[in-house]
């Protein structure tokens, strides 16, 4: 187990190196450059070239890349040439916002998705089954920015039930950066509820795709396990139906579901960019979008690197959870 973990962590290095090269090149392939973004269209070619030279973007690409990587290995994620704010400081603020949104979405998606999947599998062929699976198809197919706008229109603009955007008032004392936890720690019920109200719409919107995927995966995994011989064995022991489902079927059906939960958590990062933009959520999504629009090369590179790191770590956790769920899997 220890050796396996070490090997996996070591593999992180080439993965992140690859990601860094690709992002570094791709951001420079997009038309436009930092100087044009700052000086707007009216600037002359000479002005643009001068500013780019001042910012160091006229040097050969390998030099720029090596210089950037040199800072990365020293733990310096660089700074925005635009705002002069360091990426590390910005991440300290924005990462918790995105974490809170993503965690809420994942909790909604996993709990609701697994429950719906179980119900659909147990009532296979019923209205409930077809209804759930149709909704799941709609959920997967729906563009989430559009769904976000529609929900804002319905629940915020028309009904005034929920706030349309932002995270709400920050707590007086920001410890974790997750407002829900900070309000809980401060025993502030009003602040906590207000945070939840702000989380509700973006959390649900971000949850739709993973929820649908998890529900479908749970249903099919359950159906597969329900058809296995050992489920009949369990029934013949004289177990109640709930016990058969909980103890024998679910535990065996969870492996593919966990895989999907992991993959969806990664996919959530891209969903977060859209959702945060629609809901003006001050997280990594809006941060990286602004950086892309401003051709803020360093910020984009570093944020994508952080995204890649999170994605790889989530996958590692998923792989490790297999060994815990299935005694037949051993890592050495």
């Amino acid at each position: 187990m220890g050796r396996y973990l070490a090997r996996r962590l070591l593999l992180l290095v080439p993965t992140l190196l690859g990601v860094s090269v690709i992002v570094f090149l791709f951001i420079r392939l997009i038309p436009g450059d930092p100087a044009t973004a700052i000086l707007r269209e009216s600037a002359t070619a000479a002005q643009v070239a001068e500013l780019n030279a001042k910012l160091g973007f006229d040097r050969p690409l390998p030099v720029q890349y090596l210089e950037y990587m040199g800072r990365i290995v020293r733990g310096d994620l660089g700074e925005s040439f635009h705002t002069r704010l360091t990426v590390v400081d910005q991440l300290k603020q924005k990462l918790p916002a995105t974490m809170e949104l993503a965690l809420s979405a994942m909790i909604i998606a996993t709990v609701a998705g697994v429950l719906l999947g179980i119900l659909a599998a147990m009532r296979r062929g019923s209205i409930l089954d077809y209804g759930t699976m149709t909704l799941a198809l709609v959920g997967v197919s729906m563009p989430i920015f559009w769904l976000g706008l529609m929900l804002i229109y319905a629940f915020a603009v028309n009904l005034h039930w929920l706030p349309p955007s932002t995270r709400g008032e920050p707590p007086e004392l920001v410890r974790t950066g997750l407002y829900t936890l900070d309000y809980l720690a401060a025993l502030d019920a009003n602040g906590f509820l207000d945070t939840l109200r702000h989380l509700a719409l973006p959390g649900f919107v971000l949850a739709t795709v993973p929820l649908a995927v998890i529900a479908r995966q749970t249903r099919s995994a359950m159906l597969e396990v329900l058809g296995q011989d050992f489920v009949r064995t369990a029934r013949s022991k004289g177990l109640r139906q709930q016990t058969v489902i909980a103890r024998h079927v679910l535990k065996n059906a969870m492996l593919p579901v966990i895989t999907v939960v992991g993959l969806q958590t990664g996919a959530l990062l891209s969903g977060a960019v859209l959702t945060e933009t629609v809901f003006s959520w001050p997280g990594m999504g809006t941060y990286v979008l602004e950086a892309i629009l401003a051709r803020d090369y360093t910020v984009v590179q570093s944020v994508v690197l952080v995204f890649a790191f999170i994605f790889v770590m989530v996958n590692l956790i998923v792989d490790l959870s297999y060994a815990w769920l299935d005694p037949r899997i051993k890592y050495a």
Binding site: F230, T233, S236, G238, L239, R247, R328
Partner: protein, 341 residues
């Protein structure tokens, strides 16, 4: 009324003696066939078991034989209510299991257990052997905690496994060992009746004999009653007191072992028995074999009259019209044939 089987006439005919532990009357198990993607409608039924009558006496082993797909396993599962039978009665110690509610049946399971065919698929891969065997003890409140652990270890010893295997998982065992785990699991609740559904057909030949001997040993030790489902006739001959022969969802002959193997009355039984090779080249070459022609008809649309008439060399006009009654032709020897012998 000759077309209607499973009537009172036939079921009383197979009532046997008063020592019956199990009596099956007119048992039918039909699986619906549906068509359509969203709105499914029933277009027919697979008549896997279609009117079966037999009884099992206390302490005996009844062998249930027949070719693949004739409904042997379905019969076993329908008896234990692992399927809800379409029709018929399953009297266990006088109680009709078909009429029992979920909770009553759940309690009844303590007295009847099943040994499954596939020792690989029938054990939950995520559970330790201790939990697999111990779970029924817990469900039926027979033992818990330390007593449960001790009982599990004792059961492992009984089936010839190391009692310290409790914390291992099924995948760490061989097929024969897994089948022993399945047997220990079935024995855990001290049942009276065990349905053994081809318990050895998935095992190596070298292991088969061991498991058969173990089952016999356990039977005499715990006074068990067995319904032994198999298609291997030599095994059935070895282990059974009486034998029931099934063809296409029906029992066509039921008799004591000696009677069935020496004087089979039903042409299907005769053909089936003639297929058993005899380990003596001199007899084997001279032996007359009855080769049946044609395939087993579909249980969705079984032949009219006697189901065997499409492949029977004795068939006459009456056979395709009238389904023969299941009649006691000799004492304790039933057969459903218009021209027995």
């Amino acid at each position: 009324m000759a077309l209607d089987v499973g009537t009172d006439h036939t079921s009383t005919a197979t009532a046997g003696s008063g020592r019956n532990l199990l009596q099956v009357k007119g048992l039918k198990m039909h699986f619906p066939l549906t068509q359509g993607i969203i709105f499914q409608r029933q277009v027919g039924a697979v008549r896997a078991v279609d009117g079966v009558d037999f009884f099992v006496e206390k302490g005996e082993t009844l062998g249930l034989v027949g070719e693949s797909g004739c409904g042997k396993s379905t019969t076993g599962r329908a008896i234990l209510q692992l399927y809800k039978p379409t029709a018929g009665e399953v009297l266990f110690d006088g109680v009709d299991l078909v009429k029992l509610g979920g909770e009553q049946m759940r309690k009844m399971r303590r007295r009847m257990q099943m040994i499954f065919q596939d020792p690989y698929a029938s054990l939950n891969p995520r559970m330790t052997v201790g939990n697999i065997i111990g779970e029924p003890l817990e469900v039926h409140s027979l033992a818990k905690g330390k007593a449960k652990t001790e009982r599990v270890q004792e059961l492992l010893r009984v089936v010839g496994l190391n009692p310290y295997f409790t914390n291992r998982y099924p995948h760490e065992f061989s097929g024969g060992q897994r089948q022993r785990i399945g047997i220990a699991r079935a024995l855990a609740v001290e049942p009276d009746f065990i349905v053994a559904d081809e318990p050895i057909s998935a095992l190596d030949v070298s292991i088969q004999a061991q498991v058969i001997n173990l089952l016999e040993e356990l039977q005499s030790k715990f006074k068990l009653t067995f319904l032994f489902i198999a298609h291997d006739l030599s095994v059935v001959r070895h282990i059974s007191d009486r034998v029931a022969v099934m063809y296409l969802g029906k029992v066509v002959e039921l008799a004591d072992r000696a009677a069935i193997f020496e004087r089979p009355l039903h042409p299907y039984s005769q053909a089936l028995l003639s297929a058993v090779p005899i380990p003596d080249p001199a007899i084997e070459t001279k032996r007359k074999r009855i080769i049946l022609t044609g395939d087993v008809p579909s249980p969705v649309n079984p032949p009219s009259g006697c189901r065997f008439h499409t492949r029977c060399w004795k068939a006459q006009a009456v056979c395709s019209v009238t389904d023969p009654d299941f009649i006691e032709h000799e004492p304790r020897h039933w057969a459903a044939c218009h021209f027995p012998g």
